[in-house]
């Protein structure tokens, strides 16, 4: 028989004014199992808590009900209080007689009756409470950062600087992401390479960071504090332990291939570093285009390499490592406008380009050394048209969302063009100008001062005429059709999630929104966490944003990881699902409804009715289960139950209400 103590809080007059506490106490004393009832003006105060603790000792109480404010307010307070007593912190129920009773019912009679019901329900429930114990989950204090763009770089540096080892996995041969392709960055116009490259070098040289370039995550098991991750390191055909990065192989390689980094505006070799400042600063061999692989000829690099670092027989390697936390920073791609915008030539006009290509053209270290020229004929364009929101804010063709960086880089490009070509003309077609960052509106205003012509409206069609491109659109302010004869057209295309976001999301149990961006646990209050404990988001993997926002989010995610790593161990939530193995019939329905991938089917051999049987049963991973209880309602054989909210407890409450 349980020995229940019920503690009735007056909350000053907050409760006592509209609930007859004496009647409540009298009624409570009659309830089965209740051995003691006490009233107090402020149960949550220090003396109030002392009184509860003393009564527990004096009256041999083994579980308590506190009738007070909402459990959302003080459940934790009273649980903490119980840790100093002989009573298990989970042998506690709270009857919410303030927010849901005294504050909302003016009629004292009705309010008192309801308070009695609420206390009776809590008493009935606590009667079936069982002690629950948190366990300590050890933490592997090593972080995995996926994606080496500016977000991944920042996160890795922050965690490594705090003294914890980090693995930075990047699928390309070098880290740097999109930022390292940019020329200058708004609004300060500092050269992107000058602020990004030093950070890349810091990563490369950091004793706590291991870069795994040309690598991708292949498999993940485990849970917060203890993820086991298998990473595929693709064959680079070069032994990085020996290679000095002298570059001789690249110089002498006879195979020329279109450079991805230069957006198709230049060639690279088959053995190559994607760009000069690449980190790691060592080349890889592109086997698809290397003559040794395609024709079994050449091998010049192998002959010339002074340290014998070339390995034509190199193979993919799988490495498996333990991590305590993961940051996903897989970034964005630009939308493939060519498949969507037939009216802009669908990619057939060489001088209709996207923003990143323009970045390479104006970049001093780019293929044209920063001279603005047309890709088709190398001539300097005099009239440039820039079109914003290509694919953004256009639910019919592209995406409904705003890509957030384009208004600003559009202004940046206009400014840069007018700066470099004194007699140039720049027309910017826009829907709105969204310049809401620090110093952003001033930047946009300066671009107008520079002489850029902003036309509110979309371009409806582009067609070539001679060596010009005729852009026709509507100026929606004057309601007139505008026609511009342009030499070069730059499309500010929408950002969209990386192709691999889907696979990454699935591996880590992180959901994606309708547009495919990885979703945070709460859009306002948990912006860098995900619904998988221990997995965080940084940068554009979570949604379109510019560099300052990426960096801020990356540091926030890193702070979360560092915070966790500073703990001795994690405390597990004991209110989780449990399986009754006898009743589980192995249908697996629960596996499908679990949002945390916390349930797996396991084949077990067990003795039942004196015979050995082999069958499937559900097994709960206590590290992953968050205690929502969705599985319990899906279980046809009632084999699943949720600790803290068991079927029995709930039915007891219902019964108590109906007495």
């Amino acid at each position: 028989m349980s020995r229940i103590g019920v503690f009735l809080c007056h909350c000053g007059t907050n409760i006592a004014a509209t609930v007859d506490m004496t009647r409540l106490a009298e009624a409570t004393k009659e309830l089965p199992g209740v051995v003691y009832v006490e009233e107090n003006k402020y149960m949550c105060s220090e003396p109030g808590q002392q009184a509860v603790k003393q009564s527990i000792i004096d009256r041999g109480i083994d579980r308590i009900v506190i009738a007070s404010c909402s459990p959302r307010m003080h459940e934790l307070t009273f649980r903490k209080m119980l840790t100093d007593t002989s009573v298990n912190p989970y042998m506690l129920e709270i009857a919410n007689i303030r927010e849901q009773c005294s504050w909302v019912h003016k009629d004292k009679e009705a309010g008192t009756k309801k308070a009695i019901d609420l206390v009776r329900m809590a008493v009935a429930k606590v009667d079936r409470n069982a002690p629950l114990f948190t366990s300590e989950i050890p933490i592997t204090k090593r972080a995995l950062v996926i994606g080496g763009g500016i977000a991944g770089i920042q996160a890795a540096l922050d965690i490594a600087d705090a003294g914890f080892p980090v693995t930075l996995v990047e699928k390309e041969p070098s880290i740097g992401g999109k930022m390292v392709m940019l020329d200058k960055t708004f609004p300060t116009m500092d050269c992107s390479a000058c602020i990004c490259a030093p950070k890349m070098n810091d990563v490369g040289a950091h004793p706590n960071i291991e870069i795994m370039s040309l690598s991708e995550v292949e498999e993940v098991t485990g849970y917060v504090g203890n993820f086991t991750v298998t990473i595929r390191q693709k064959a680079k055909y070069i032994d990085y332990d020996l290679c000095t990065g002298c570059g001789l192989c690249e110089q002498k390689c006879p195979s020329k291939v279109t450079s991805e980094y230069e957006r198709g505006l230049a060639k690279r070799k088959a053995v190559y570093k994607p760009f000069a400042q690449a980190v790691p600063s060592k080349p890889i061999i592109d086997a698809k285009n290397c003559r040794k692989f395609t024709e079994d000829r050449c091998g010049v690099c192998e002959k010339l390499c002074t340290v014998n670092a070339i390995r034509f027989d190199d193979e993919d390697k799988l490495v498996t490592l333990e991590y305590g936390a993961v940051i996903i920073a897989t970034g964005y791609e630009l939308i493939d406008w060519t498949s969507l915008y037939g009216e802009y030539g669908a990619g057939a006009y060489p001088d209709v380009i996207d923003g990143l290509t323009f970045e390479r053209i104006i970049n001093a270290s780019g293929p044209t050394e920063g001279h603005i020229v047309r890709p088709s004929d190398g001539k300097e364009p005099k009239t440039v048209v820039m079109i914003k929101c290509v694919g953004s804010r256009d639910p019919h063709k592209g995406k409904a969302y705003c890509s957030r960086a384009c208004c600003m880089y559009g202004a940046k490009h206009a400014h840069q063009f007018l700066d470099k070509i004194a007699d140039g003309e720049c027309y910017v077609f826009y829907m709105d100008v969204r310049a809401m960052g620090k110093g952003y509106d001033e930047f946009y205003m300066n671009t107008l001062q520079d002489g850029a012509t902003y036309i509110r409206g979309r371009v409806a069609k582009i067609y070539p005429e001679g060596d010009k491109y005729i852009c026709i659109g509507e100026d929606t302010i004057s309601s007139k059709i505008v026609t511009v004869s342009a030499d070069l057209v730059v499309l500010d295309t929408a950002m969209e999630p990386q192709e691999s976001a889907d696979a990454i999301g699935r591996l880590f149990g992180v959901s994606r929104d309708l547009d495919g961006w990885l979703t945070e646990a709460h859009p306002k209050l948990r912006p860098v966490e995900t619904n998988t404990a221990g997995v965080y988001l940084a940068g554009t993997a979570q949604g379109p944003k510019d560099i300052p926002d990426c960096v801020a989010q990356a540091s926030a995610a890193a702070a979360k990881v560092i915070g966790m790593f500073c703990l001795k161990a994690l405390e597990s939530n004991p209110m989780i699902s449990v399986v009754d193995e006898i009743n589980c019939r192995g249908c697996g329905d629960c596996v499908d409804v679990c949002p945390y991938k916390a349930i797996a089917m396991e084949t077990v051999e067990r003795r039942e009715n004196s015979v050995w049987v082999t069958r499937d049963i559900a097994v709960i991973n206590s590290g992953l289960c968050q205690g929502c209880g969705a599985c319990t309602a899906s279980c046809k054989s009632s084999a699943l139950d949720l600790l803290g909210f068991t079927n029995e407890q709930i039915l007891q409450e219902v019964d108590a209400l109906c007495l």
């Binding site: 929502c628 969705a630 709930i650």
Partner: protein, 160 residues
């Protein structure tokens, strides 16, 4: 009592049901999720909103925790109305729990109607933590609707 037994169980006669006491008030149980509706109800308290005292909340982590059997059990034991309330679809604290609630409970509501329980007695509502007003309105509406119907007699255990 299983559902099959419940269907077989003797029903109160119309005459018995007609004897409704003067001061009878409906007994309504609301299963609410901890994160949205329970928080919305707390906010209604914080705002000192006023609503009838006929609804009792039973706090669960998620509306997805509500087993349809709990609902039937409540009617059997003497509840006149049952509400299942959770976060708005798409806002579930556990990402997907209330999607299951929505499907399961809407189907169950039609089933209960088929069994003879008026649909007004069993309602599913999405109330966020900020929708104190919606919580109050839901309670007011539910109390009014169930009061109009009178005590539930269907599947009620004898003596309840």
């Amino acid at each position: 009592m299983s559902l099959e037994q419940a269907v077989e169980a003797p029903q109160k006669t119309a005459a018995e049901a007609a004897e409704v006491a003067e001061d009878w008030r409906p007994k309504i149980l609301a299963f609410t999720c901890n994160w949205c509706t329970y928080a919305g109800a707390d906010l209604a308290g914080l705002n000192r909103m006023n609503y009838p005292a006929d609804v009792r909340l039973l706090r669960l982590p998620c509306s997805g925790r509500v087993n349809p059997q709990f609902v039937l059990h409540a009617f059997q034991k003497g509840c006149d109305g049952v509400l299942v309330c959770g976060c708005h679809p798409g806002d579930c604290h556990y990402s997907t729990g209330n999607y299951f609630t929505r499907r399961r409970m809407l189907l169950y509501r039609r089933y209960l109607e088929y069994l003879g329980i008026e649909p007004e007695r069993f309602q599913i509502r999405w109330i966020s933590g900020s929708e104190a007003g919606k919580f109050r309105d839901t309670v007011v509406d539910a109390c009014e609707a169930v009061a109009k119907l009178g005590p539930n007699t269907k599947y009620r255990e004898e003596g309840r």
